[in-house]
């Protein structure tokens, strides 16, 4: 087995491929554009993917368990609006933040209960919630952005620590923590059993309902955190932010090795998937390509990733 086996035991095949791709891409791009390998550019990439990268941590855990959440974009905006309204009403910063996060948690709880207890398909449930949550935030915000948020609050989105913007730290911290937990924690690994074979998971004594509710609350909370960071960065709560984001997050997770049927995927993979998409978008910008091409490229990468999956599965099945 040797070196290759050692490497493989640390990082799964899919993740190795992505790291390799990113390295090759990075090297290629550094020749194409002199700006690529500069810190401001890399920071821009990381900042740009901080929202989706953070949410992807929770989304991949949900996907591994066999569910998905289409409402994260709306939850993100909802948290921003709730916190924004609280702040402009004079509520202290920390309490406003907690209010926003509680709203996110509420969304996650409702999603979790509907899917776990009422056994409604997670696609339909969260699709409904996506629309409902968006509606709620539009109503309470009166259809307009909440502006002029206090500086103490905006610091968490605009501030820097050692010259790196805070949202980047949050994302990296959550990715590292999430990946560690999904590999090493008995509790978090229950998601693999649940997604791989729900009946077997129950038989092993896993409390499937509680786990699902936990997963939905987690991803909603992460959406809430991202919402706060985003709102703080721009200094105002947008009512339109987050639309269509959930599909990009799911795309990143799938490129990273997750499967819609559950039981597969990793946090590291999801992050690498998001990073790949972010680097690609950045590269296209640096090369002066029209923004419209980005969707096309993202879509192509997703299809290639899935076809690659299917072909390797098929080759393995034939060998049996």
């Amino acid at each position: 087995m040797g070196f290759k086996g050692f490497l493989r035991s640390i990082v799964a095949f899919r993740e190795s491929v992505l790291i390799l791709l990113l390295l090759l891409f990075g090297i290629a791009m550094s020749f194409v554009s002199p700006y690529f390998m500069t810190w401001p550019n890399i920071e821009a990439i990381l900042l740009g993917l901080s929202v989706e990268g953070t949410i992807a941590v929770g989304m991949v855990i949900l996907l591994v368990a066999g569910n998905l959440d289409l409402s994260v974009g709306s939850t993100l905006a909802l948290t921003g609006v709730v916190t924004g309204l609280a702040l402009t009403a004079g509520v202290p910063v920390w309490i406003s933040i907690i209010c926003g996060l509680l709203a996110a948690l509420g969304v996650g709880l409702i999603n979790g209960i509907l899917v776990a207890k009422l056994k409604i398909n997670s696609f339909i449930t969260t699709l409904g919630m996506q629309i409902t949550a968006r509606g709620i935030l539009l109503v309470i915000a009166g259809g307009r952005a909440v502006i002029n948020l206090p500086k103490e609050f905006c610091f968490i989105g605009q501030g820097r620590l050692f010259d790196v913007q805070i949202p980047i730290y949050v994302m990296i911290f959550l990715v590292v923590l999430g990946d560690f937990l999904m590999r090493q924690s008995r509790f978090f690994r229950q998601n693999y059993y649940l997604g791989g074979n729900e009946r077997a998971a129950r038989m092993s004594g896993i409390n499937v309902n509680s786990l699902q509710i936990f997963d939905f609350c987690l991803v909603a909370l992460l959406a809430g955190i991202s919402g706060l960071l985003l709102t703080a960065r721009f200094g105002s709560s947008s009512v339109t932010v987050g639309g269509g984001m959930e599909l990009r997050v799911i795309t990143a997770c799938i490129i990273g090795g997750a499967s819609l049927s559950g039981g597969e995927g990793s946090v590291l993979g999801a992050f690498l998937g998001a990073l790949l998409l972010g680097v690609l978008a950045n590269s296209l910008n640096l090369m002066g390509v029209d923004v419209y091409w980005q969707s096309l490229v993202t879509g192509l990468i997703l299809i290639i990733a899935v076809v690659f999956d299917v072909l390797t599965e098929r080759r393995r099945a034939v060998r049996k």
Partner: protein, 509 residues
């Protein structure tokens, strides 16, 4: 063997909407015995086992484990009490490793709930070695063969150190060798005091492994006998409630019947080569062979489902051009798959819709609308003719028993009024009563002139039904045996490649 009883079930009743699955059933398992549970589909065997295993709760009745009454609210409860069940459908997670599956949710953990991987894999290796299973504990389950997966399933049940193990048809996907290993392991565990409850359709297994056998019929307890005091016929009549004198019927003597169907020089690289056969009108031809011999691939190539590199088909002297199933159906050739659940039936559709699937044009008006009355009549006829037991023709096929599902599959294809039918494993997973019905139907078809080819791994079935048997081994025909020379030994010799009369005599069948 200790004589005390470890598990006792009294007056167990379980009713599902519309059907009484168990009716005041008694059952007793002695410590250290291997107790077989048999019965037709719908007899209640799985229900009984599911209740003992904690999957279902009985409506009434008592369960006593080691003299104490117990009641399980989940499978997990039953496992904790020492009763471990091995299901027919696998309960493994294919994307995880062998070790992670055996220690599902019981992984050794250190501080902060962190998994101790080194310890987990070491314990797994020790455990595997105890049962002489040569596997790398880090292998992902999806990379194991079906047989290995099923063996792993059983090991998983053993890992919780149970007192009683419940096995529900554990050998359905195992090779001969794997079955032998399984029986060795079961006997070894029995010596250590473990008790087994074993559901199977294969009566031969009952005589190989069990100490006592209990028969259920229609949810009722019929009787329990020591295995060395019953014969297979006794068991069959207990299961079915009537004498089945000759399961396979008798063939009519073929007097100068002309050749009806001929296949020449079928070959496909890597699958089969030099396959030729001829079938006379009213003849039943069998094709025997081990798994992987190429029989199914060959049949599918005839039917136009898979491609072939060369080969010609003649029906009644006329050369046929079959490139896809549509052509085969038009020419009156039917192929009935061995995998009825995935490749044959439309499980989520009704009995009615399944029956007419290959012949929709026959029931369509000129503008393509289905004529309901014609369909109803056809389906009623088929249901009667094939003795299909279902509450109504609108019943979803997934809710029917295995035997009835197989009958629906037959009705579906016989409905095209075929001239030649190729049956691939006609009675796999089918209970005794339905089997007899299916064999009777085959006899009837052949007596009316339909050419019948049976591909089967069930030697007694082939020996009982066929006039001639071809044997394939690794893609070639190695022998042809006529009724006068029928014996299991000869066929197995050809099937394993130990004998090859075709290569030796240098002629094709």
């Amino acid at each position: 063997m200790d004589d005390s009883t470890i598990l006792k079930v009294e007056n167990l009743t379980k009713t599902f909407p519309g059907v009484r699955a168990l009716n005041k059933v008694d059952f007793e398992l002695k410590k250290g015995e291997i107790h077989a549970l048999i019965g037709e589909n719908g007899a209640g065997k799985s229900t009984l086992m599911h209740i003992i295993g904690g999957v279902l709760k009985p409506d009434s009745g008592k369960i006593m484990l080691e003299g104490k009454p117990v009641s399980f609210s989940s499978v997990h409860d039953a496992i904790k009490a020492g009763i471990s069940m091995v299901f027919q459908e696998l309960s493994l997670v294919s994307s995880l490793s062998v070790g992670e599956n055996i220690f599902a949710n019981r992984q050794p953990v250190g501080a902060m709930d962190r998994i101790q991987w080194g310890k987990l894999y070491r314990l797994t290796k020790e455990f595997l070695q105890r049962f002489k299973l040569d596997l790398n504990p880090k292998t992902l389950v999806k990379n194991l063969s079906m047989g290995q997966q099923q063996t792993l399933e059983i090991l998983k049940a053993l890992s919780s150190n149970p007192k009683i193990i419940l096995l529900d048809e554990p050998t359905s996907s195992l090779t001969e060798e794997e079955i032998a290993h399984l029986f060795e392991n079961i006997r070894a565990l029995q010596k250590q005091g473990m008790s087994f409850m074993y559901i199977t359709h294969k009566l031969s297994e009952v005589f190989q492994i069990a100490d006592r056998v209990t028969v259920l019929r229609d949810g009722n307890y019929i009787g329990t006998r020591p295995v060395n005091e019953v014969s297979e016929n006794n068991l069959i009549s207990m299961m079915v409630g009537r004498e089945i004198k000759s399961m396979y019927g008798t063939s009519k003597e073929m007097v100068d019947s002309e050749e009806y169907f001929r296949v020449e020089d079928f070959a496909r690289k890597g699958r089969f080569r030099n396959i030729s056969l001829s079938l006379r009108k009213g003849e039943i031809l069998g094709i025997a062979g081990l798994v992987g011999a190429g029989r199914t691939e060959f049949a599918r190539a005839i039917f136009g489902l898979d491609s072939k590199d060369s080969g010609r088909i003649y029906l009644d002297g006329r050369l046929l051009n079959i490139r896809r199933p549509k052509d085969a159906i038009r020419e009156g050739i039917a192929y009935i798959t061995e995998d009825r659940k995935n490749l044959g039936l439309f499980l989520t559709l009704t009995l009615r819709e399944n029956c007419i699937a290959p012949i929709l044009e026959k029931f369509s008006s000129r503008i393509g609308l289905l004529k309901g009355a014609l369909v109803d009549q056809h389906v009623e006829n088929q249901t009667r003719e094939f003795s299909i037991v279902a509450p109504s023709m609108y019943q979803k096929v997934i809710n029917l028993s295995g035997g009835n599902q197989q009958k629906v599959l037959l009705a579906m294809w016989i409905g095209i009024r075929p001239k030649v039918v190729i049956f691939d494993e006609p009675t796999r997973g089918v209970d005794v009563g339905a089997r007899a019905d299916i064999y009777a139907k085959l006899r009837e078809l052949s007596s009316k002139g339909t050419g019948i080819i049976i591909i089967s791994s069930d030697l007694p079935e082939l020996l009982g039904m066929c006039d001639r048997i071809l044997v394939m081994h690794q893609g070639e025909i190695t022998g042809e045996v006529g009724r006068a020379d029928f014996s299991e030994e000869i066929i197995m010799a050809y099937a394993t490649g130990l004998a090859n009369s075709i290569a030796n005599n240098n002629h094709t069948a």
